[in-house]
Symmetry: C2
């Protein structure tokens, strides 16, 4: 067995569960911080553990280009390479190939693209994307999909959705034939300590007996019928978990919600459901309320680097001069190590002075806010408070 | 009382002691990490505490320009502003005015200089430099001195040394008249936790009853006679501690050592002796062996940012391709959180990928190496092992 998913409680459409992976047990709904090239930018791994991050996301496209799959494989996969013993998910590389490459060339076989680092030419197919993800050795990996731009005409949406379905079948075939090649057998020479996630046991599957899990991705643009057809075709291929991709690409927020809600109706209730690349704190609460189990987003980490901080009182742009002599904490209701120690004036000074510590502290706070938010969502679900948790958790002006 | 210095043990010329300041007790000889604008670049304050940093240095020039003395004063001085409850020392601003300003204009009254940030014109005199340092509120502050370039003719050396002596008298006069204006009475609204330094008590003077301490600075270039005269004139003015300034400005290392050794002969044995702006790990060991009690240097933090790491096996340039698949720790003999967890391959990848975590982890390791080195020096002195400690601590090719 490579993954197991148990729903412990539900409240309306929302569900609280446990996802057992080879490296860690994950309480769901879960938010996954993004560690693009093997690092959640600016945050040491032990602090991520302290924050309660249960699973982080790595980007196959970036890691494939640097340091390269062979290097990561040799160091024992991403877990050994970046010294992270909890769970990891990698995306398929598809989204980055499409978003970072204007000169890409797509055929039925796969995608030819140029490296954003040095312009060198590369090729990703469902098979090579699986090969890369098996070498990286995350607990959960993703089928290779095509992402379309927004807005786009329906013919293009349909063609892309259909190719994604064919690529999903090829992804699964390659994965099934090669999944035993995951580099978990190799042991790091460093025996770093691992503390258990706060408030949860440290249960996990044995890596020795298990393999990675490959999730399918539903596409179909902003068309409910195409999404339904994509879900049916992907389920027919059969995966232990399903993601909804191709959202948060510029469409209005109401449309995102509508597509998520309608697509979820077509996904199996007993499998984890993952919405890729969303969202703001209120969005992740909202989508958890719809029954989404997993989410990831660069927003907390990227916004932190631009001095945009999420707090219980709304968004704070810490660069503003109004905070220059503000001796209070960033968020009076936050228990994170940043809010417990530093003043807004200090955080503002670090940002204004271009100090690296600004990025470090801002990112720690924003991740703490996201992870705390999801912790409260899980708690509310376990108490059956669905009707109240949206209101109580996010009773502030919408950002 | 504002400072008290006790020598507990000695071994040859080296001495092991305790320096009691209003905010913390410091075990000497001590290395002081540099936190230029209120942050040791990239390292959160709680990690500095864990590393055992007992006292850090702030740069008056930088803090005066940004965020400005009034802001720091309003937030309770540097301790409150940067949420650091252990000891702090500020330099006088003199060195930066001279090293960062080619268009400065020096008169007997003081120095007119331009901000490196926006080109605006400013003026530092002994009086205004004291005013700034009282507002910043460090435990130990420095007299305003003139630094000369290297090499320089003897007439210029003498003139500069003599002006530094006159400025020292003016610095002391202003300080004595205004030292009660230190902003320690104002309490931060944040009550962050403070853990005691490892392996020492948390003794300190009461801030309520005490003031800052002003140290004098010996100048005189590379001339032993001028240094002797500078020491005599500075001692005549009278300070609770003495620094040797104007070294590490490009002169050969042998000359640095010669000037330190000869100048120390003229300084009182019962007062702390501080050599400013030195040095490599082997240099700080060497100077501690000569009887120096305090040192600071940007080298560990600046080198870290360039991927140069100090280890028990010598210097490591982590950017080199030879480390790309090296699964071993940076320094097998180091117990720091970086060496205990991450591989050389990972550190090399972070550096090559321009990840902010590279600076964070590299700086933590280099500071750990420096602070550990000084800890071992203190231990050796306490055991009376002077004759062996240089050899045993630094038995590697000179860097």
């Amino acid at each position: 067995m490579s993954i197991s998913f148990h729903i412990d409680s539900s409240s309306g459409q929302a569900r609280g569960g446990r996802l057992l992976t080879p490296h860690a047990e994950i309480e769901t709904p879960v938010f996954m911080p993004v560690g693009t090239v093997g690092s959640v930018k600016g945050v040491p791994q032990d602090i991520l553990e302290d924050l309660g991050a249960q699973i982080i996301l790595g980007n196959t496209y970036h890691l494939y280009l640097r340091p390269g799959v062979a290097t990561v494989r040799k160091l024992g996969g991403l877990h050994g390479f970046m010294a992270w013993r909890r769970a990891i998910l990698t995306d398929s590389g598809g989204f980055q190939v499409f978003s970072l490459n204007e000169l890409r060339k797509v055929t039925e076989e796969g995608v030819t693209f140029r490296s954003h680092l040095d312009g060198s030419s590369h090729f990703f197919s469902p098979e090579s994307a699986m090969e890369a993800q098996i070498g990286l050795g995350a607990d959960i990996i993703m089928a290779f999909d095509e992402c379309t731009e927004y807005p786009v005409d329906r013919a293009r949406m349909r063609a892309s959705m259909e190719m994604t379905a064919r690529w999903a079948a090829r992804s699964k075939k390659y994965f099934e034939e090669h999944k035993r090649e995951v580099p978990w057998g190799e042991v790091s020479s460093l025996q770093f300590p691992v503390s258990g996630p706060k408030g949860s046991g440290n249960q996990k599957l044995e890596t020795g007996n298990s393999t990675q899990s490959l999730f399918g991705i539903i596409q179909g643009g902003m068309d409910r019928e195409l999404r339904k057809e994509s879900a049916e075709r992907t389920i027919e291929i059969g995966f232990p978990g399903y993601a909804i991709g191709g959202l948060s690409v510029g469409e209005p927020r109401e449309l995102t919600r509508e597509i998520i809600e309608s697509t979820l109706e077509h996904l199996p209730k007993d499998k984890p459901r993952y919405v890729m690349g969303v969202g703001t704190p209120d969005e992740i609460v909202e989508y958890a309320g719809l029954g989404v189990d997993m989410m990831d987003c660069v927003l907390p980490t990227r916004a932190a680097r631009h001095g945009l901080l999420f707090t219980s009182e709304g968004k704070v742009s810490i660069k503003q001069a109004r905070y220059a002599q503000d001796s209070g904490p960033l968020d009076p209701k936050c228990g994170c190590r940043v809010c417990q120690r530093y003043s807004r004036a200090y955080l503002r000074h670090l940002y204004a002075s271009n100090e690296v510590l600004a990025q470090v502290l801002n990112t720690i706070h924003n991740l703490s806010f996201y992870l705390d938010t999801m912790r409260r969502v899980r708690h509310s679900i376990s108490l059956g408070e669905e009707s109240r948790f949206l209101a109580s958790l996010w009773s502030r002006p919408k950002s």
